[in-house]
Symmetry: C2
Subunit: 228 residues, 2 copies
DNA sequence: CTTTTGTATTCTGTATGCAGCATTTTTTTG
DNA sequence: CAAAAAAATGCTGCATACAGAATACAAAAG
């Protein structure tokens, strides 16, 4: 658990001259990661005393971070019994993907209209890097770049609310996708879809991009279906 | 400020035998209402000491509630300077409405497919009541029933994630709509659109309902455009 | 008169302490 | 020996206390 050291380094100021992130933000990120990466599996009670000690923080800021995550939907507050990591059913996941699909289709259309060439180029760069990771068989980095690309497209829409909602859903789903290890052939298919996506985006082909994004998420459901 | 009494009544147990809501939930609701109803205008700093005293609560649970609202997007956290009520630009509002539109179109389609007859009947009941309030010129109750109807349709979709995202956006927009007092002719048009909505829902006409909901929100933007 | 610097105050951020509820273990009773 | 009651433990929820940062104010210098 290197959470402790990294947390304390930030509190002391560390190498950087100015403390960038407040403790609250740091705590939220750490807890999020712990949930997503499975350190805190669904159903786990978030023990304030224990967890606080582990992170080197007192209960007060920890509780505040937990409340934040509760509003984000990663954690559930049970009166008088603290917080537990939320458990998502198969239907929950499918529902989230349905909404995400709708949002990405919208984002795709808007991005084609309003994105700057520079913005599109950045996504292309992410994509190329992702393909390299794919070819190298680096699952973790592939996964992260994949997420980044979808996030980037949501942001290219220029619609902050859209990017926001997209981020919330994506965060909730991260844990699921993090687990879902599809086989080589499905993985290849996913990469191919991404290839189409980028091409459509660069051509600013609204209909095409929207369609590919939608299809990509329909397939995504098929890919994770068994894992949940 | 009757927040004090109502909060304290709950803490003592009040008339009900069991304390239903935890203090956290109560606080969140109260702060939400205060923001929506304009007691705390955009840009206002949430003064913990003062606000806590006003509500009869110590700073700790208040801070937790504020963090919750921050994650909800109603409030912005400024490091070392506390929380500020978020200010939405005209573009922000338009963006939120765009997303809301997309979500409602989806909700409409799903509702037509999966809603129970009983569920639809409930929405009809809300609608009829709303029309009565409209005829009586009761703006506040009309407004609240209007919101309830849209919320209900989102829930009829049977998609929890969708209902969730919808609720978040609706909450963020409540304040804007609460202000926007459209004239009589626009009001009448809005009611007519609602009439169409209910009819389409009862007929389970996906395409029609989706179309009306979308149009309704396009018009909604035209209605509030000047207020922001 | 403006600007700057030092000081005082106010507010946030975090830690700690205490009361009450939930749960578990122990004791008592049938 | 089983079941119920009672005590004990552990944890959450809230309040208070303290340290540090930011701001406001005041005095002094240009």
């Amino acid at each position: 658990m290197n959470e402790i050291t990294s947390l304390e380094r930030r509190r002391e100021g560390g190498p950087g001259p100015i403390r960038r992130t407040a403790l609250h933000d740091t705590l939220v990120s750490h807890l999020r990661d712990m949930i997503i990466e499975g350190d805190l599996p669904p159903g786990t009670r978030l023990h304030e005393g224990q967890l606080g000690e582990q992170l080197g923080v007192s209960r007060t800021p920890l509780r505040e971070a937990i409340k934040y995550l509760a509003s984000e939907g990663l954690v559930e507050l049970v009166p008088s019994r603290g917080a537990v990591v939320k458990r998502f059913s198969a239907k929950d996941v499918q529902d989230m993907l349905t909404v995400l699909q709708s949002l990405e289709e919208l984002a795709g259309r808007l991005a084609c209209e309003t994105a700057s060439d520079a913005g599109i180029a950045e996504v292309r760069a992410l994509h190329d890097e992702m393909v390299r990771r794919y070819q190298a068989g680096d699952r973790l980095q592939y996964y992260k770049l994949n997420q980044q690309i979808h996030t980037a497209i949501a942001q290219l829409s220029g619609n902050a609310a859209l990017a926001d909602m997209h981020a919330v859903l994506q965060t909730r789903l991260k844990r699921i996708r993090f687990i879902g290890h599809e086989g080589p052939e499905k993985w290849a298919a996913a990469v191919a879809e991404h290839e189409e996506m980028i091409a459509a985006l660069e051509a600013r082909d609204k209909a095409k991009l929207s369609e590919v994004l939608g299809r990509h998420l329909t397939k995504a459901w098929e890919r994770v279906r068994d894992s949940v």
